[in-house]
């Protein structure tokens, strides 16, 4: 009723409990901010869109993996992925990602854990690590980060309890957004240095609108583990485009794995949402991740950010229609037209890559030397990374439609040129 609304409005923050820089549990924050907490909890929902969301698939829990529901498997939906990633943990188990509520358990129980001994660095993006890092570093976030990175996953896993929580994005005193992730702090500093800005610190130098994307870019980015210390690094020292990132990896001679069928030193791209969004028209128009994935919604006499982070296509009226006054069906059709085009090219690029892998394997089986194979394997490395940069990016091209198509076109060219080179090797040696 009106009276209650007026109350709510005058008193949007009920400070019923004291929050400190050690309050990890979101339920406690929820006492002060029940509306945000309620929507935050809804990230357990699973609803599928044409290319996003996720589908709840029942499974029989085991002692090794107690999950009774997972989301659909990407490698079963498209088995070519197993060839593309042959020899890497992703070929064993890769699923459609789902809501934030699942991040910790999905990481803990993915079968990828059974293939490779993973480091503590993994947790950076799958748990509320702010308080644990500080504790491990005796109050020093960066020191704790360095320490946890190097631990075996199982050991580090014991230090954390929650998926991403309020404290990971908010300052408990003011509720202002803040960056808590060392990986992003170092990554954005390196990036800004290339633009001539020294010692960039988002926590003091970013605008509010920038922060509405940066809190997401703490995790939704490409990364690798550097050296023995398994330091989590965002490869942005040459820029954010796929071309800059591969140039960076080439320079330091990094590879994620050796392809099982071809012996190529390959790279796995992972969720470069922030990088791709940056190339798109929305980023250029200052439209932030939160604008679409956490749009405002009205609750009584106040409007709040919808903490049910999810596909905007499940929430078109709030996520899109304030800016685009078209009917919901039309907006959905627009997004899907972009996605369908991307999907078509992704399939062409995938076919080309599989063809290349076959040709390299044949040349290798025919006894070609590593010397001769090197430039061809390099084509595979490039073709794979470019394709994966779109495949692993979760918007199926929406975040940057033309750039996604551009990247896939280059991937096709790399694959086919690699094939031409592979086939130019002495055919006499062919089986």
């Amino acid at each position: 009723n009106i009276f209650q609304r007026k109350q709510e409005a005058r008193n949007p923050f009920y400070r019923v409990v004291e929050l400190t820089d050690e309050t990890e549990d979101p339920a406690i924050w929820g006492k002060n901010f029940p509306l945000q907490y309620d929507s935050y909890k809804r990230t357990v929902d699973q609803v599928r869109t044409r290319f996003g969301g996720s589908e709840a698939r029942p499974r029989t829990p085991t002692s090794a993996d107690p999950r009774s529901i997972v989301s659909q498997s990407k490698i079963e939906e498209d088995p070519r992925l197993k060839v593309m990633w042959a020899g890497y943990a992703f070929a064993r188990d890769t699923r459609e990602e789902r809501g934030h509520a699942y991040m910790l358990e999905d990481q803990t129980f993915t079968e990828r854990q059974l293939v490779v001994q993973q480091p503590g660095a993994c947790l950076h993006c799958h748990a509320s690590v702010y308080v644990p890092y500080k504790k491990q570093g005796n109050g020093d976030l960066m020191a704790g980060f360095a320490k946890v990175n190097q631990m075996p996953f199982a050991e580090a896993r014991k230090l954390v309890t929650h998926p991403v929580s309020c404290i990971d994005c908010h300052d408990p005193a003011t509720m202002a957004l803040r960056i808590t992730r060392p990986g992003f702090l170092e990554g954005i500093r390196a990036l800004k240095a290339t633009e001539g800005v020294a010692n960039y610190d988002p926590n003091t130098m970013a605008t509010r609108q920038e922060m509405r994307s940066y809190v997401c870019a703490q995790c939704h980015v490409e990364y690798y583990f550097k050296g023995q210390e398994k330091r989590l690094v965002y490869p942005w020292a040459k820029g954010l485009k796929v071309d800059n990132i591969i140039a960076y990896y080439d320079e330091i001679g990094f590879k994620d794995w050796t392809h099982a069928e071809t012996g190529a030193p390959t790279l796995k791209a992972q969720h470069p949402e922030f990088e791709m969004w940056n190339q798109g028209i929305h980023a250029r128009s200052s439209v932030a991740c939160a604008d679409c994935h956490m749009p405002y919604k009205r609750e009584g006499a106040t409007k709040i950010s919808d903490h049910h982070v999810r596909s905007p296509l499940l929430n078109i009226n709030h996520a899109c229609q304030t800016c685009h006054r078209w009917p919901e069906a039309e907006l959905k059709a627009r997004a899907e037209a972009i996605q369908e085009r991307t999907y078509h090219l992704r399939n062409l690029a995938m076919d080309a890559l599989i063809d290349l892998i076959k040709d390299i394997k044949a040349a290798k089986d025919a006894g070609e030397t590593d010397d001769k194979l090197a430039p061809i394997r390099d084509f595979q490395r490039k073709a794979q990374f470019y394709l994966d940069f779109v495949e692993a990016e979760n918007s199926m091209g929406f975040h940057a439609p033309q750039e996604s198509a551009r990247i896939l076109a280059e991937s096709i060219d790399f694959s086919r040129k690699g094939q031409l080179l592979a086939r130019s090797l002495s055919p006499a040696k062919r089986p």
Partner: protein, 159 residues
């Protein structure tokens, strides 16, 4: 209220009398001819039709008539600050420059709001909707306020 907005409003009040003087001083020039011929005095009323006296405002007027705010806010509710001096200073400022620009034809088309006008409009949004947006107002204003117009730029006159 956001720092940048209140600051520019304060400047408004301080220089208001000066500007009125300038306006009066030019009163015998072309500005005043325009001002009167174009029914300049109606400008000081709250009637939106007064704005549409200038055909370059006609499209905004036509759009306002179809807007969600037609029944609740007039042009001046959004485009002038609330206090009396600010209001008439802003009108004088607009009035003078509009007449001048209109007469010489020397203005950028399409018309874009200046930064100061943008601040005034956003202050108006907050004047009416302060309550509802209280929860989303920035807790650390030095980072900048939420830009209402990023999402709601068309509420006054969707064109």
């Amino acid at each position: 209220m956001a720092a940048p907005i209140s600051k520019s409003l304060r400047n408004v009040t301080v220089s208001a009398s000066l500007a009125v003087a300038v306006l009066a001083g030019t009163g015998l020039g072309i500005g005043s001819y325009t001002f009167f011929y174009a029914n300049g005095w109606s400008y000081f009323t709250n009637d939106p039709a007064a704005c549409a006296n200038c055909h370059v405002m006609q499209t905004h007027y036509d759009a306002w008539v179809k807007s969600s705010h037609r029944a609740v806010a007039t042009c001046n509710d959004c485009h002038t600050p609330p206090n009396l001096i600010g209001k008439y200073y802003t009108k004088a400022d607009h009035g003078f420059w509009h007449s001048y620009a209109f007469t010489t034809g020397d203005f950028h088309e399409p018309i874009f709001m200046k930064a100061r006008s943008r601040a005034i409009v956003q202050a108006s949004c907050r004047r009416c909707h302060g309550q509802i947006v209280e929860a989303i107002e920035s807790p650390d204003p030095h980072r900048g306020q939420m830009d209402c117009l990023l999402c709601h730029g068309t509420v006054g006159h969707p064109m």
